[in-house]
């Protein structure tokens, strides 16, 4: 079971200093583990950055890598989760041709059916935004693409929040007594 490949989400908190991202990704690189998505931003704690990293790997490996991440000086915490342990979302932007949109009714139907949002319209292009799981965001792209109206497409890496009602990640950041993460026994 430890050797089965799954999509894991790693959440890392570190000090906000130059060179941290390099150190975090190096732990994956040295094993040639390919990062699927990466989102880095300031956290709710001042001076602390939060990384959300997703990748396909085995529990055996991700357990060990997460421990090594947490060991790094200036990394405060590192955790790993499977998809059923988190809520996760991605944001996608679709730049569509306005003339195509106007001449093809199907396009606005797709927008409505998918609960996507129009955030800009001008005579040349229309920008649509959709937040959702990877699959939803990508299938919307495919639907637009089938109508040949896409000028540009971008999607973000995932952001994730832990489902467990008892887990409050940011509160425990500096707390030595709290069991540091699931990988710590």
């Amino acid at each position: 079971m430890l050797m089965e490949k799954k999509l894991y989400t790693v959440i890392v908190y570190s000090e906000n200093i130059a060179g941290m991202l390099n150190q975090v990704t190096a732990e994956f690189t040295r094993r040639q583990m390919n990062i699927e998505t990466l989102n880095v931003s300031s956290s709710n704690v001042e001076g602390v950055h939060r990384y959300t990293i997703s990748l396909w790997t085995t529990e055996w490996l991700i357990q060990r890598v997460t421990k090594r991440l947490e060991k790094k000086i200036d990394v405060l915490r590192a955790y790993y989760f499977t998809d059923n342990e988190i809520f996760m979302q991605e944001v996608a932007l679709y730049k569509l041709s306005t003339p195509r949109l106007l001449e093809n009714k199907q396009v606005s139907k797709i927008i409505r059916h998918n609960n996507a949002r129009v955030i800009e319209i001008n005579s040349a292009y229309t920008v649509v935004e959709k937040t959702g799981k990877t699959d939803a965001v990508l299938s919307l792209y495919k639907e637009f693409a089938a109508e040949q109206c896409v000028l540009q497409f971008v999607k973000s890496g995932r952001v994730a929040i832990v489902r467990d009602a008892n887990v409050n990640l940011s509160e425990n950041l500096f707390d030595e007594d709290v069991v540091r993460s699931k990988v710590r026994r």
């Binding site: 570190s14 000090e15 060179g19 390099n22 150190q23 190096a26 040295r30 357990q63 060990r64 421990k67 090594r68 947490e70 060991k71 790094k72 000086i73 200036d74 990394v75 405060l76 500096f174 030595e176 007594d177 540091r180 990988v183 710590r184 026994r185």
Partner: protein, 564 residues
């Protein structure tokens, strides 16, 4: 305290004094000249050691650190000076040695422009150091140096790199000493978990065949007494890893020898016979475990380590005891029943008998043929009353010396374990004479490794380091030749070697020496070496095609050692 306006370079030196640094190994160059200039006024504050190659500066700092328990310090220039330290930094990382490497860097204004002798040192050293940091302003110096020493020396020790830009060296700062004694993201000494301690003690109390495997963690934690108290109360036989050889004296009744690929038969075979395996400050290196799939599968495993990463890394552990073993060992000992496990211990003796007859006797007491490395090692050890510090290079010489030396005192083995760095020994031995000036330092090398940092004879001459150098001349890269013989059909590709007259080289440096080819001269030569004050080179022609035995071939289990 009154603040004083000084340069960043001067601030660095004040900060080093503040950390009780007394010795610096270094080599100057363009982008570190301001610091060396400041050192000119600090000749009384530091023992200043000009090495002959920056790689040697780090190995010397390692030898200094491992013999003294203090942090070793190196000071080098940017670019090639800095890249020359990479092998030493990696070695210190893998062998948990506290060193601080300070390198010059180009001015921050020209960073990233391929300026003369600019390399991205932080980028290059991040993966091979415990912490790596660029000092870009003089204001940063006091904090960075103190943090560097704190990180290098606490918890599981390791190398720290400070990349010091030239503008920070020359600009002025209102200096104030600083002491960093915590980093909020870093828990160097995890608090022992009492549930785990109790579980561990219970398990040991119920064990019929407990076995302790002990590593350098005991030496780093200065837990020698705590280890002995633990073993003696529980009547637990123990064996040591290569780096942990002096964590338990060779002659202690519960000491069963050495683990690993070229370790002793008893401890290796009995790893797969014990019912409870207690690992103490060791990391289950592949050179110790052999084939993981068959390693101690019959046993429950307790692992005492200060580093959470090591727990479950390669060997699944039943009871982890995270913490400093100086603290956790007594907590467990307290809960132990007194025990003796006589029959179990006797099984080690049975295996010893086999190894003695098939291997050891032949290696240390040969009667004819060329001199053997094993006999030289045993004789040198005895000639120093088994009180010396053994520093080795890498290869057959390392394994023979480690096996046949005897260890009485703590901190008596300095060898490159994790990285297996040829060329480590000579500078490390030089550093050890400065870290432990009252002890005899014996350096064992092969003819290959001796020549990998042979330029340090210059430093040894200049600094009058009393290193007893024993060079085992087999005219081969012997350890590789052994593998070629055993596993590559004896095709000795690139391993035979034509050697110079090592004594003549020593002579050029004014170092007394002896050349020995005949067994009848060996005792007298060793006596002369030990009795001659200062450095001495003993060049011994040994049997060319000797093999280190026993051996756990690559991919074999601990219980599958070959004896001949």
């Amino acid at each position: 305290m009154k603040k004083e306006l000084i340069t960043g370079g001067e601030a660095l030196l004040r900060s080093l004094i503040n950390e009780q640094v007394d010795t610096i190994f270094g080599y100057p160059g363009g982008s570190i000249i301001p610091v060396f200039d400041a050192l000119y006024d600090h000749q009384k504050d530091f023992h200043q050691v000009l090495v002959r190659h920056e790689q040697a500066a780090v190995h010397a700092a390692q030898g200094y650190a491992r013999s003294s328990g203090k942090v070793g310090v190196c000071l080098v220039t940017s670019g090639p000076g800095a890249t020359n330290t990479l092998t030493g930094i990696s070695d210190a990382m893998l062998d948990s040695t506290p060193v601080v490497v300070i390198a010059g860097q180009v001015s921050s204004a020209v960073l990233g422009t391929d300026a003369f002798q600019e390399i991205d040192l932080v980028g290059v050293t991040q993966p091979i150091s415990k912490w790596s940091y660029q000092i870009r302003s003089a204001e940063d110096v006091a904090w960075a140096v103190s943090r560097a020493f704190y990180i290098a020396s606490t918890g599981r020790p390791g190398p720290v790199v400070l990349d010091f830009t030239k503008n920070a060296q020359v600009s002025q700062v209102l200096y104030e000493p600083m002491k960093v004694d915590s980093v909020r993201s870093y828990v160097p000494y995890p608090k022992p978990n009492m549930d785990c301690i109790k579980e561990a003690a219970d398990l040991i109390n119920r064990a019929k065949r407990p076995f302790a495997v002990v590593g350098q963690g005991v030496e780093l934690g200065e837990a020698h007494k705590e280890l002995i108290a633990f073993l003696e109360k529980g009547g637990i036989p123990a064996a040591r890893t290569l780096l942990g050889l002096s964590s338990l004296p060779s002659e202690h009744p519960l000491c069963m020898g050495m683990l690993g690929m070229h370790g002793n038969l008893g401890p290796n075979v009995n790893t797969n016979e014990c019912d409870v395996l207690i690992a103490i400050g060791m990391r289950f290196s592949d050179r110790v475990t052999g084939k993981l799939e068959t390693y101690a599968k019959q046993a429950k495993i307790i692992h005492l380590d200060i580093d959470n990463v090591e727990i479950d890394k390669s060997v699944p552990v039943d009871i982890p005891v995270l913490g400093d073993c100086k603290e956790t060992l007594p907590l467990i000992t307290e809960l132990l029943n007194e025990n003796c496990h006589k029959e179990w211990i006797a099984t080690f003796g049975d295996l010893d008998k086999i190894e003695n007859e098939k291997v050891i006797e032949k290696a240390v007491n040969p009667t004819d043929g060329p001199i053997l490395m094993g006999e030289v090692a045993r004789k040198v050890s005895e000639a120093t009353g088994n009180n010396a510090i053994l520093v080795t290079d890498v290869g057959q010489n390392q394994m023979f010396a480690a096996r046949y030396f005897k260890y009485k005192l703590p901190h008596s083995i300095i060898t490159s374990g994790g990285l297996g760095t040829m060329g480590f020994g000579l500078p490390a031995a030089m550093g050890a004479t400065m870290g432990a000036p009252h002890r005899t330092v014996c350096y064992f090398a092969g003819d290959g490794g001796f020549q990998m940092n042979i330029q340090e004879l210059g430093t040894i001459m200049e600094q009058k380091c009393p290193v007893k150098m024993i060079v085992m001349d087999n005219s081969y890269l012997g350890m590789v030749r052994q593998w070629q013989q055993l596993f590559y059909d004896n095709r000795c590709s690139w391993t035979p070697m034509c050697n110079p007259d090592f004594c003549k080289i020593a002579e050029a440096y004014g170092i007394p020496s002896r050349f020995v080819t005949d067994r009848s001269e060996l005792d007298a030569a060793i006596k002369e070496m030990v009795e001659t004050p200062g450095a001495f080179l003993l060049s011994v022609v040994v049997r060319a095609e000797d093999n280190v035995m026993p051996m756990m071939p690559l991919g074999a289990s601990v219980c599958e050692m070959i004896l001949e």
